[in-house]
């Protein structure tokens, strides 16, 4: 472990700490109750149907899983690329990644139509041509790697510390595969107009950096504010500018994706639907304006330099934009009818040719919220029992040569 920062558990023991944990616990219970309710009645109590087969729980789950991969990037930059400024945040970053993944996976699991049959998979019912099956291996492997990675960062003995770099590299490669796999869940669907595109894999990888960095920023700022520890600009500004660059790169991939689609006549329908139809508000206002333009302005506007409120706002908006990104991709892509007969009007009792409507019911929304709350609760609790956070992230500790000009 290269960093010399001193780590400690979070010492807060007052009503603030337990209040936050209690609130999160209530949300988790709400999510569990929703899952039980859905499981008991069946999915007719949700807004999901045979047209929109994946709904709000999947929006939350995909966001959390993608964010998880990105959240560990802060640790990667410290380990693999040797950026010392990032190293004090490595433990928290890896722990956050594991927590987000657990929350996301639990949502997916609890939404399944028949959870009991998951046990069958343990008996070898795995189809290795399915990216879903691969993802189950990638996701569980990621948690194992993160656990070892944390051990190499936190152990005092020599052996684990010597593994810090190789495990960091493995973690980085694994993350690439994992987010590629998540993007490919949609990217490898030949049937649907908005999917079936190789660019979804890199798009999801770069989007994961946005979600993960934004969540790291918010977590660090909130933690250091609430614990009264010092947080300097050196580390925050690194995260700040990398967030803006990741947002810009995501927009670039999104731009290329739509430009490519717009060139092909067969995709004009879906492009019109997303860019100027029913989902245009969510795409332009939610994903592009709220999620990209405003955060980039808040970060790169020179009058807002070192302004923490602006940074926190930018990070919150990037997270919100992330949800819009997933929603437009997932729900927008399913809302657009399958094209079985090009250049024809199509109708049926099974809603062929119709734009499919979806509105989430409370239980399915609550399941998603509960999963997110669980992720945060794991982090809040983890900070209390593990030495995840440096005692100080002041500029003098993080980077003695940092000049704030």
């Amino acid at each position: 472990m290269a960093t010399k920062a001193i780590f400690s558990e979070v010492k807060n023991n007052g009503i603030g700490y337990w209040g936050i944990l209690g609130l999160l616990g209530l949300l988790v219970l709400g999510g569990l109750a929703s899952a039980l309710y859905m499981e008991h009645h069946g999915h007719y109590v949700t807004g999901m149907n045979n047209q929109i087969v994946w709904g709000m729980p999947h929006v939350f789950a995909i966001f959390l899983i993608v964010a998880s991969s990105g959240a560990a990037n802060v640790a990667t930059v410290g380990t693999v690329f040797g950026k010392k400024v990032y190293q004090p945040l490595g433990r928290l970053s890896a722990f956050l990644a594991a927590a987000l993944l657990i929350g996301g996976l639990l949502i997916l699991l609890l939404d399944l139509g028949d959870m009991a049959h998951v046990i069958e998979m343990g008996y070898g019912y795995l189809n290795f041509k399915s990216i879903f099956a691969w993802n189950m291996i990638l996701y569980s492997g990621f948690i194992a790697i993160l656990a070892v990675y944390l051990w190499t960062m936190m152990a005092r003995s020599k052996t684990p510390r010597s593994l810090y770099y190789p495990v960091g590299v493995l973690n980085m490669i694994w993350r690439f595969l994992l987010t590629m796999g998540t993007g490919s869940i949609l990217g490898w669907l030949v049937a649907r107009q908005y999917y079936d595109a190789a660019i979804l894999a890199p798009l999801f990888i770069i989007a994961s950096y946005v979600f993960g960095t934004a969540l790291n920023i918010l977590l660090v700022m909130a933690t250091y504010k609430l614990t009264g520890r010092e947080l300097g600009d050196a580390v925050l500004n690194r995260l700040r500018y990398s967030l803006a660059i990741f947002i810009a790169l995501t927009m670039f991939f999104e731009f290329m994706r739509h430009l490519t689609n717009l060139y092909a006549t067969e995709h004009h329908g879906i492009e019109a639907f997303i860019l100027s139809g029913e989902f245009s508000g969510m795409f332009w206002f939610g994903e592009v304006f709220i999620g990209a333009v405003v955060p980039m302005f808040l970060i790169w506007c020179r009058f807002l330099k070192n302004n923490r409120t602006a940074l926190a706002t930018a990070a919150i908006l990037a997270v919100l934009g992330g949800f819009f990104f997933v929603y437009v991709n997932l729900i927008g892509g399913q809302s657009y009818p399958l094209i079985m007969f090009p250049n024809a009007e199509v109708s049926s009792s099974y809603f062929d040719g119709a734009v499919n409507q979806y509105s989430s019911t409370f239980p399915e929304f609550m399941l998603g919220v509960g999963g997110f709350a669980l992720s945060i609760a794991i982090v809040v609790f983890g900070m209390k029992i593990l030495r995840l956070t440096p005692v100080s992230l002041a500029d003098s500790v993080v980077d003695p040569h940092y000049k704030n000009d």
Partner: protein, 245 residues
């Protein structure tokens, strides 16, 4: 089934045996409805056979309504009590198509197309979505976890998810809450040497048989007149072919 029905069935199948050949009904000069033999129950399903279906929509005056009714009766879907119209199962439905430029309009029944390389089978994490050796694509309800990835992957919107608890399912059609289902080409009937229910509901327009047997009526008909696939661009080599689309 009442006694008269079962008596009639035995009587009719007896005629078939006496005739010394498989049941053959003329659909067009030189084109016969089917020549399917029952598979002995103790023998595994063979990949020597590939079941397929040919639908002549010009002869389906009702656009497939009778087929849909027969399928419902055979498998018992569509009566889900709590599910709304968007959630109710539909194994087969009538799709109306009107070409925008010409105004040419037609209706056709659409269900699982029983692809040779089914996307639903590729994506299924557990292997529940499977293709039998004889080409019939269906869901193994025992290992379906209800993730609905197959529904995302199917280009024909052929699958339904069961959104509620079901009771009194038909004995030949296992169905259950939280699993995905679709047309299974009436495996229960096919394995007994019978036609799928939809074929029997419109025998003048639907032809069922073995695509691998060059001498089978369906193969002969397809060889002579061709047969269109929906979304042929995907190269899935569907087992269901159409005339008139």
């Amino acid at each position: 089934m009442n006694n008269i029905d079962s008596y009639r069935r035995r009587f009719l199948s007896g005629i078939g045996v006496v005739a010394g050949a498989t049941a053959a009904v003329s659909i067009a000069p030189g084109v016969f409805l089917r020549d399917v033999q029952a598979k002995p129950a103790d023998q595994p399903i063979s990949s020597k056979v590939r079941w397929g279906m040919l639908i002549d929509i010009n002869k389906l005056e009702d656009g497939g309504d009778a087929c849909i009714a027969a399928c419902k009766k055979e498998h018992g879907w569509g009566e889900e009590e709590h599910s709304n119209d968007e959630q109710k199962a539909q194994w087969i439905r009538k799709v109306k198509v009107t070409e925008k430029l010409t105004g040419h309009s037609f209706s056709l029944p659409v269900m699982c197309q029983h692809c040779e390389t089914p996307p639903c089978v590729d994506v299924c994490p557990t292997g529940a979505s499977m293709k039998r050796a004889d080409g019939i694509v269906q869901v193994n309800k025992h290992i379906c976890i209800g993730c609905r990835y197959c529904m995302m992957a199917c280009p024909y919107k052929a699958r339904s998810f069961v959104h509620e608890t079901l009771i009194d399912q038909l004995p030949d059609t296992p169905r259950g809450k939280g699993t995905v289902e679709s047309c299974n080409m009436c495996v229960n009937r096919v394995d007994e040497g019978k036609n799928p229910a939809c074929v029997d509901a419109a025998p003048h327009a639907l032809l069922f048989g073995d695509l691998n047997d060059p001498e089978s009526p369906i193969s002969q008909a397809l060889k002579k007149y061709g047969g269109s696939q929906i979304r042929a661009d995907l190269g899935l080599n569907t087992g269901v072919r159409y005339w008139g689309i």
